[in-house]
Symmetry: C2
Subunit: 560 residues, 2 copies
C-alpha cells in the first residue's frame, strides 16, 4: 500500500467515492497483496457543475496497485454503483467482475455500448463463497428499488467485514425477502466491521412497503376514467411490474416510453421480472387503437429531466402522446433534492394541458424509497452487531447522523468512523485506527472528454452564466506600434449590444487609450501586460456603468 | 380600458403579476375611470434565469392608464408585495400608497435607499374605509409570517371584491388574532368575488401555530449546553421576538447577524414588535465576553444563500463567528423549493465543523408556514361565501387545486376562474366573464439595468454555462483579400486550451481554409457570410471532436 499505511496484519478499508456524497460509490478492502473493489459508480452532477455530464472517481490508487486487484464485486445494478465500469476498465485491468441478476444484464448492455472494451463478467450465486486468495466473499439478499441487491460479506483473516449494499427492509416486498436468517447468523458469529448505507439516516421511522405502493396504484387505476400515465424510475423493475399487474387487473394495455424504460422492460423480461399476459404490452405506436380507459402509459421523466418522455409530453413536444382532458398523470416517484423546481414545472404544464396529476404524499402513497429509514438502519445494526462501524453512501450529515444511530444501537464510542474518500481505516480483530490517506478525487466527464475539464473551466462557466462575456479586440501594427482602426467590442450574455451603441463606443475608445498609453510608457509591444491592463480597467469601467461583472476577454492582434 | 374590454357597469379584475408564479404580486381592480392597485412585488428568479437579480412586471398598462390610478394598497411588507415599489414609481405616477405597520417601516427604508424617488405614503387604519372615488377600500387583519398583514376589501358599485392578502389561520398566534368577526360579517352581507392566496393549496390540513414553534425553540434552548445559533427569515418579526423571549427565559443574550436581520430588529423595535429587557440584545462584536451557554445568535441564511450570515459561518469565512463543537444550529425555516441543495451543503459544512444541527421536521417543529393549508383555505371560503372565485398567488397547479377546493366548499362550477397574468375578469353583481387580455409580462433587473436583458442574453448565458465559448479571430487584408497570419483561437469555459494545442492548431487551420475558400468563391469580403460559414463549420468540427457545443464567436478584422 502507498506509503506503507498498513501494518502486515491490518486490513485496510477505504472509499474512492461515496463518502460525503450520494454517488460514484467505490469501496476497497485491501489485505497484504490483495484488493477487492466493491462497486464502480458515477455521480450525477448538481447544478453547480455547469455542463458536466457525469463525475467519476480518480483511479490513480488502483492504477498504481493494479497487480493487487483480485476482483470488482457489484452489489446491485444502479448507475451510482455500476455506471463507471466502462471508465474504470479503460484505465485499470480488472481480472474479474462479479455481479448477479439485473446487474449482469445492465452491465452487459453497457459493454455493448462501449465496443472495444472487454470485461470478464461472472455471475455470482446467492449462496456461493468466492475464494479470491486470502480474502473470500459471500452474499446475502436485501430489499431495494432494483431487483437482485445484495449485502457483500468479505471474509478476512482478521474477521468479517460487511458492506450493506443499498438496502431497506420490506416485510411485504414485491420480490423475494431479504435474507434475515443469514444476517442474524453473521451477527451471531461476529462481525468485525460494518459499512452501511446512510442515504435515509435523516428519515425517522420505517419506509413504506412496495406492496402499499402497488395497492395504491391499483386503487387509483380503478377510480380514474381516462388514460393512466405513470412516471417512475426506469430501474425500479418491481414497480414497473406492479404497474403492469394493476393494468391487467383494470383491463388496461401498457405502452412504455423513454429509452431507459424500454431497456428496463427488455432486461426485466429476460430476467423474468417483467411478466404480462400476451397482448398486454403494446407497441407505443398503437395506443390510438384503444379507448382512453384501456390504456396505461409507463414512462421516464419523473424527475422533470428536460429530455425525458414525461417532460416532452408535458411540453406538448412528444411525438406519440398528447395530453387530453381526462388523462391522469401519476408520479410514482419523489423529487430528488435539486429536482423540485423541474418537477414543479412539469406538473404545471400537465395541469395546463388539462391532465389531472397525482403526486406521492402520505394520502396517495404512490412511491416509497429504496433506502432504509432510521429504524431499519437500527434493525440491521441489531442483526449484525458489528464491533466497528463505518457509515457509507451519503453526504456528511447523513454519515454523522448514522454514526449516532450506531451508538444508540450499541456501537461503542470510538468504534465508529465518519471518514472522507481516500481515508484508510486499518482494522484487526482487536483494533481499528485511521491510517492516513490514499489518493482520491473527482474527475469530470463532459462529452468525450474524461478529466480534461478542471475547476478553472467550471469557474469560467459560472462567471459566463451570470454576467456573460465582453471581448475587446485591438489590432496593432507591430512595427509602428500604432493601433489600427477602432478596437472591436463584442459581447455574449452580457447586454444586447445593438441597444447600447454609446456604451460600446465608449469601451472601444477606452481600450484604444489604454493601449496607446501603455505602449507610450513601455515603448514596446508586451501583449500580456496590455491584456492585463485592459482586463483590469475595462472590468472597473463596465462595473461602474452597469453593476455587472462580465468576463473580460482581451485580444491583441499584431500585424505588419 | 385598452380595447374597451369592459362594459360600462362591469368591474375589471386582473393581475399584472402573481398568477402562474409565486412572486411579483400586483392585482388591479378597474371600474370606469378608476384603478386601484393591490401590491407591487418582485420575484426572486430561479436558477434558469442566469445572473438575473430580480424579475418585475411590465407596467405598460399602468403607464397608458396613468390618469385612472387612484392608489396602490399594500397588503403586507414582504418583498414579493412591496419590493418593486421603487421600480414602479420610476415609471408610473402613483398618487397615494396606503400601507400599515411593518410595511410602512419597510417601504420607508426602501425609499431612503432610492434617493430622488418620492412616494406619498399614507398609513391606513385597521378599521377605516378609504373612499377613493366610486371605489372604496377597507381592511381586515389576518395571520401571516410578518406582522400587520391584511385582507383588502374593495367596495364597488357592483359588490364587494376581497383580496385575501397572504394569510393563514393561527388560533394561537404570537401577535394579534385574525379578524374572524369581520370576515364572517362580510360573508353574511355578501361577497361578489374572492381572490385568495393559493401558495399552500397542495398542503393537506392545517398549518402549525407559531406558538407551537415558539415552545419547541424554547425546549431546545433548555436542552442544549453551548451556543444556540438560530437561522430564520429576517422578516418574520414575531419569530425573532419568540427567539428573544426563549433566550431571556434560558438566560441567554442575543446577538443578530445579517443585514436584513439587523433591519428587522430596527424596524421591529420602532414598531414595538421587538421587545427585550435592557442588556438582552448585545453588540455582535461582544459575544466573546459571554460563556457559550449564555449566547443566542440569530441570523440570516436559512435558505443557504451563499452570502448570508449562516452560509459564511458554515464556510468558516464569517468575521465574528467560528463554529466550535458544542454549538447547536437551529433552522427555524424550511427550504423553499430550489434551495434544498444549498441548504444541504450548508448543513454538511456545519456538521463538519462540529456543530449539532436541528432542522424543521414533525419531530422538532422549529418552523411553520405563513400560508394557509387546504383546510384553512376552506375556512376562509366558508367565512366569506363568495359568489365568484379567483385563486391567486401561486403556480398554475396551486391555482388549479385551489379552484377545486373552492368547488368543494360551495363555489358553483363556472363561477371560479383560473387565469393568467393580464387576463381580465369582468364582473357585475350578476355575472363574471373572461373579457380579454391587457399587456402583462416580465422584466428582468440585472445590476442597474432594468429590462435591458432579454431572452437572447439569457439564452446565451445558458449556452455559455454549459459548454463555454470558442472565439476565432481572423485578420484579413481588405485590399488583397488575403488572410494575415494564423487565425487566433481563444476559449473560455470550454476546455483548458493549453492542454489541447493540437486541437487549437487544427481549428485555426480550418478557419483559415474556410475563409480562403469562401473569398475565392465570392471574390469579395462579405463579413457576415464569412462569420456564418465559420460558425457553422467550426461548430460541427468541434462537436465531432469533443461532443461539446461551445458558443462559436467568429471575429473578422479587416486591415489594410
Amino acid at each position: 500500500m502507498q506509503n506503507n499505511l498498513l501494518n502486515k496484519n491490518e486490513v485496510g478499508v477505504f472509499a474512492l467515492g461515496g463518502l460525503g456524497e450520494v454517488g460514484k460509490n467505490m469501496y476497497c478492502i485491501e489485505y497484504q497483496d490483495e484488493i477487492i473493489i466493491i462497486d464502480s459508480g458515477i455521480l450525477f452532477p448538481d447544478d453547480s457543475l455547469l455542463g458536466i455530464d457525469y463525475v467519476i472517481n480518480d483511479y490513480t490508487y488502483l492504477i498504481e496497485n493494479q497487480s493487487k486487484i483480485k476482483a470488482l464485486i457489484i452489489s446491485h445494478g444502479h448507475e451510482d454503483h455500476i455506471g463507471a465500469i466502462p471508465y474504470l476498465l479503460r484505465q485499470v485491468h480488472i481480472p474479474k467482475i462479479y455481479a448477479n441478476g439485473m446487474a449482469i444484464g445492465l452491465i452487459r448492455n453497457k459493454m455493448k455500448e462501449n465496443k472495444g472494451l472487454r470485461a470478464n463478467l461472472i455471475e455470482f450465486q446467492e449462496y456461493e463463497k468466492l475464494v479470491l486468495g486470502k480474502l473470500s466473499v459471500s452474499f446475502y439478499r436485501t430489499n431495494h428499488s432494483i431487483p437482485d441487491s445484495f449485502g457483500i460479506v468479505v471474509h478476512t483473516p482478521e474477521g468479517v467485514i460487511i458492506h450493506s449494499g443499498d438496502f431497506k427492509f420490506d416485510f411485504t416486498p414485491t420480490g423475494p425477502d431479504a435474507n434475515y436468517q443469514r444476517m442474524a447468523e453473521l451477527g451471531k458469529k461476529g462481525v468485525l466491521l460494518l459499512l452501511s448505507d446512510s442515504t435515509n439516516s435523516e428519515l425517522a421511522g420505517f419506509t413504506k412497503s412496495e406492496k402499499t405502493v402497488a395497492s395504491s396504484i391499483k386503487d387509483i387505476f380503478t377510480k380514474i376514467e381516462g388514460r393512466a400515465i405513470v412516471a417512475t424510475f426506469a430501474s425500479n423493475v418491481h414497480r414497473v411490474q406492479q404497474i403492469i399487474e394493476a393494468s391487467v387487473a383494470t383491463n388496461r394495455k401498457v405502452a412504455a416510453y423513454g429509452r431507459s424504460m424500454l431497456k428496463t422492460l427488455e432486461v426485466g423480461s429476460e430476467m423474468g421480472y417483467i411478466k404480462a399476459p400476451p397482448g398486454t404490452l403494446i407497441d407505443p405506436n398503437h395506443i390510438k387503437r384503444y379507448k382512453p380507459e384501456e390504456i396505461t402509459i409507463v414512462c421516464t421523466g419523473s424527475q422533470g429531466e428536460p429530455l425525458a418522455a414525461l417532460s416532452r409530453i408535458a411540453a406538448g413536444t412528444h411525438r406519440q402522446i398528447k395530453i387530453t382532458p381526462g388523462d391522469t398523470v401519476i408520479f410514482s416517484s419523489s423529487p430528488i433534492p435539486g429536482n423540485q423546481l423541474g418537477v414543479g414545472k412539469t406538473i404545471n404544464m400537465l395541469f395546463r394541458r388539462g391532465a389531472n396529476v397525482i403526486t406521492n404524499s402520505p394520502l396517495t402513497d404512490t412511491h416509497t424509497s429504496g433506502h432504509a429509514g432510521a429504524e431499519e438502519l437500527k434493525l440491521l445494526l441489531k442483526l449484525l452487531k458489528p464491533k466497528f462501524f463505518m457509515p457509507i453512501h451519503g453526504e456528511y450529515r447523513m454519515l454523522k447522523i448514522h454514526a449516532q444511530i450506531g451508538h444508540d444501537c450499541g456501537v461503542r464510542k470510538g468504534n465508529s468512523f465518519v471518514m472522507d474518500n481516500g481515508d484508510v481505516l486499518a482494522v484487526t480483530r482487536k483494533s481499528a485506527r485511521p491510517a492516513g490517506k490514499v489518493q482520491a478525487g473527482t474527475v469530470y466527464v463532459d462529452g468525450t472528454g474524461i478529466g480534461d475539464i478542471g475547476n478553472i473551466v467550471i469557474r469560467d462557466r459560472k462567471i459566463l452564466s451570470e454576467d456573460g462575456l465582453l471581448s475587446t479586440i485591438v489590432t496593432i501594427n507591430s512595427e509602428t506600434l500604432e493601433v489600427i482602426g477602432k478596437p472591436v467590442i463584442i459581447s455574449r450574455g452580457f447586454i444586447y449590444m445593438r441597444d447600447h451603441e454609446a456604451l460600446t463606443a465608449e469601451i472601444s475608445e477606452k481600450v484604444k487609450q489604454i493601449v496607446e498609453r501603455k505602449i507610450k510608457q513601455t515603448k514596446k509591444l508586451n501583449i500580456n501586460i496590455l491584456k492585463r491592463e485592459i482586463t483590469k480597467q475595462i472590468k472597473d469601467f463596465v462595473q461602474g456603468k452597469t453593476e455587472r461583472n462580465p468576463m473580460i476577454m482581451p485580444v491583441i492582434m499584431s500585424v505588419n
